[in-house]
Amino acid sequence: MTQTYSRLRAGLGALAHKPYIWGVLGIVALLIVNVTRDPGYLQISVNPANGYLAGNLLDILRESAPIVMISVGMCLVVATSGIDLSVGSVMAVSGAVAMEFLQAASAPQSTMSAAMALLLALTVSSLLGLVNGVLVAYVRLQPFITTLITMLAGRGLAKVITGGQNTSASSDGLAWIANGRVLGFPVVVIIAIALALLIGYLVRRSALGMMIEAIGINETASRMAGIKPHGLLITVYLLSGLLAGVAGVFSTATVMTVDVSNTGYLLELDAILAVVIGGTALSGGKFSLGGAVVGALLITTLDKTVVFLGVPSAATPAFKAVVIIVICLAQSSRVRALFRDRRGPVRMKERVA
């Protein structure tokens, strides 16, 4: 008993030093607000109609899956002191490819078609990521400009693929990925968690993470140490494109429609915010994938809270901005130093007592 207690304390202590502690606290605060509005907010129940686990927390997890995917990719790109503005557009392209393929497929309901649609969508997304990577690594274009171009061209491409239409299709396989359940638990959440863990494992168990950080912190010194940044940059941008493709499938498959103007629209900004909330500096270097996931969860929680509380549509952007500014301020070492200085004497007293 005491042992579990002390272990819990140690765990919480470690968490308190993580860069994304403010993101976690933000989520907790939002959940508390929701609980105040409705005490049953956190409840998870089994829906008698279909045997699904249901509840607001699951809704948040489900909703966050695409953002988690692009945030993880964005986090790696940002660590190299780059940025990937194209993820939102790549989502639209991925969704457009999948939907268009299924609409044209002879047997859209077959698992084979679903697998083909998925494969095709992810291939095209990876290619877009590869284009970003090659332009950044070899042509030495600035990441901002490069991915801005792919962002604009990507949405154009999505429109060309669907002929400007919002294409709908039906495929049980793909719909299962987005809406299906395993033991009542949403499949999309399981896949997102698995992918995030897999990438975290890949990055930290191989030398990829360290080398990404090295070029993000000091590219000249890394080069002098013999690191060849090309391969790393391409890997990272490709991964970001691939994950954006997964996110695109997630978000279009929920309603089996790609909305070329709206799918993934402005989500690159959410991903960048998630990365920053997660404690990764936009200047690159040390990164935290866990932090990016926390950031993505915070943003979704915020979105859901706005609806749950019934904040009027017009006030929604302002409400979100305030919450995010507060968290960024809390993270800022300057602001924290300011508060520390003020509280300094009080703390001394506490210690004496």
Binding site: R205, S206, A207, M211, A214, I217, M224, A225, L232
Partner: protein, 513 residues
């Protein structure tokens, strides 16, 4: 020529930055109608002193008197008001504006309605004419001019408000010989009109050609003020590097004597290795187990040579053979693959990865060679970190501490560990002992000898000549981006020999850009 009263008198100036005393009780004077050169190696405090005079930095203690009045500069504007104008190393002008607009920027002549461009360009033409640049048309766009002429325009801009003191920070660093002459013509003209000029340059020949007076700084301290005519080059150099000639002479070179197989194949043989703007074609051979010193002042081309040898820069002429096989060194990765390693003089910008741990910094180069898919196993990482922390005596002995939290000397040892971990045949050390404490310095020197004893070939670059003399078997002497001598070390060779070589070569050399 010298007026009785100095126009600038800086007395007992001290400036501290966190952890460093950049200036420590420095005196400095300037006289009207004189060119005054500030000399010193990197980190001597030259630029800090200039920034104190031009109001960029505020002084911690001491006094600044300009034009007979005591001054408290709160910013560059105050200094300008006191008559101090500055032209910085990089030309900061606007290439898309005209010459006249650049010269008069911020001082445009106002007419009845807004700026009168006619009058402004007339004023600019007058300012140009005063410097003997009357043939420059002020309405031409600046971008169409060569860098040298742009430099002259920058100086003209500095002289528009008729300053009494003009500071020129390395104005010649990117000019060729003819352009330098043109610039010197302008400087002499200003001097003859009574302006006090502070001139900073790393080129000894230029210093002796243009300046009337020299102040020497070292480690933030004042080392003396001399009339150029009364200061011989050897004294200047030895004062800059901090050993007076007597000490240098009496210093018993404790160099280790090592045996080599006669006629052993050189591990590296470079022929005519050079790069435009870096170093003129140079020959160099390295035997296994040999320490070759490279001596030369800052800007002599010593770092450029090292970078070519490692592949950090690409040579545009010459060949390199490693173990008898010709190689093309296109990048550090290629250099490493061929058993070369280069420890940079710029530890902060090109050496350490500040936020990574000591362990990660040590394994970085071998990891880079293996590629990211084949990580160095954690056990191996710990073993390597442990090994170099112990053998190089890295303090604190904590492999997981970010390297940025270590002292300069310990960072240097971590970097040494990084290169040793790659098990190189050739190790190039560029200023490995700069800015680190005496204890760490001695340890690094010992390691150099030890490694050579194990058969490694080392290139040892340092501004501290006696260190070079003590450790090396052969010494390349570089000056103004050219190899001027290769000295076989022996009992009769001392730091003074090298100083004499550099100084002696100066006296009969042409100006080399």
């Amino acid at each position: 020529m010298t007026a009785a009263e100095p126009i600038v008198e800086m007395h007992d100036i001290s400036i501290s930055f966190p952890g460093v005393k950049a200036l420590d009780g420095v005196d400095f004077r300037m006289f009207p109608g004189e060119v005054h050169t500030l000399m010193g190696e990197n980190g001597a405090g030259k630029s800090t002193l200039i920034k104190a005079l031009t109001g960029v930095y505020q002084i911690d203690s001491g006094s600044i008197v300009v034009g007979g009045q005591r001054r408290q500069f709160q910013g560059t504007g105050d200094a300008q008001e006191a008559g101090v104008a500055t032209v910085y190393q990089e030309v900061n002008l606007c290439p898309n504006l005209t010459i006249g607009e650049n010269v008069m920027l911020g001082r445009e002549v106002r007419g009845r309605v807004g700026i009168s461009w006619k009058a402004t360009h007339r004023a600019a033409a007058a300012a140009l004419a005063r410097l003997g640049l009357a043939d420059l048309d002020p309405t031409r766009p600046l971008g169409s001019l060569s860098l040298a002429v742009q430099q002259l325009v920058a100086i003209t801009r500095g002289t528009v408000f008729e300053p009494t003191v003009l500071v020129l920070d390395e104005p010649t660093s990117s000019l060729d010989a003819n352009e330098v002459e043109q610039l010197f013509g302008v400087i002499r003209g200003l001097r003859d009109r009574g302006v006090a000029i502070l001139f900073v340059s790393h080129f000894l020949d230029q210093v002796y050609e243009i300046s009337d007076r020299i102040t020497i700084l070292r480690n933030g301290q004042f080392q003396g003020e001399h009339l150029t005519a009364e200061l011989d080059r050897s004294t200047l150099i030895s004062t800059m590097i901090g050993k007076d000639l007597a000490t240098l002479r009496s210093l018993d070179a404790q160099r280790a004597q090592r045996e080599h197989e006669e006629g052993a194949r050189p591990v590296v043989r470079a022929r005519g290795l050079g790069r435009a703007g870096g170093i003129t074609p140079t020959d160099l051979e390295l035997q296994p187990g040999e320490v070759v010193g490279v001596a030369g002042l800052l800007g002599s081309g010593r770092t450029e040579l090292a970078r070519l040898l490692y592949g950090a820069d690409r040579a545009d002429r010459g060949t390199v053979e490693i173990d008898g096989r010709p190689v093309t060194l296109t990048s550090p990765a290629v250099g490493l693959r061929h058993g070369l390693a280069y420890s940079t003089e710029n530890r902060r910008d090109e050496g350490i990865i500040a936020d990574l741990s000591v362990r990660e910094n040590i394994i970085l180069a071998i990891q880079a060679q293996r590629g990211w898919l084949r990580p160095v196993p954690r056990k191996e990482q710990d073993r390597l970190a442990e090994r170099y922390i112990t053998t190089l005596n890295i303090r604190p002995a904590d492999a997981d501490r970010p390297i940025k939290n270590l002292s300069g000397g310990n960072q240097q040892k971590v970097l040494l560990g990084r290169w040793l971990a790659t098990n190189p045949d050739v190790l190039i050390l560029d200023e490995p002992t700069r800015g680190i404490d005496v204890g760490a310095k001695a340890e690094i020197q010992e390691h150099v000898l030890e490694l050579a004893g194990e058969g490694m070939a080392l290139v040892f670059i340092s501004s501290e000549l006696e260190e070079v003399v003590r450790l090396s078997e052969r010494i390349l002497v570089l000056k103004d981006r050219e190899k001027i001598a290769e000295i076989e070390n022996g009992a009769d060779v001392t730091a003074e020999t090298i100083v004499a070589t550099i100084a002696g070569h100066d006296q009969n050399a042409e100006v080399v850009a």
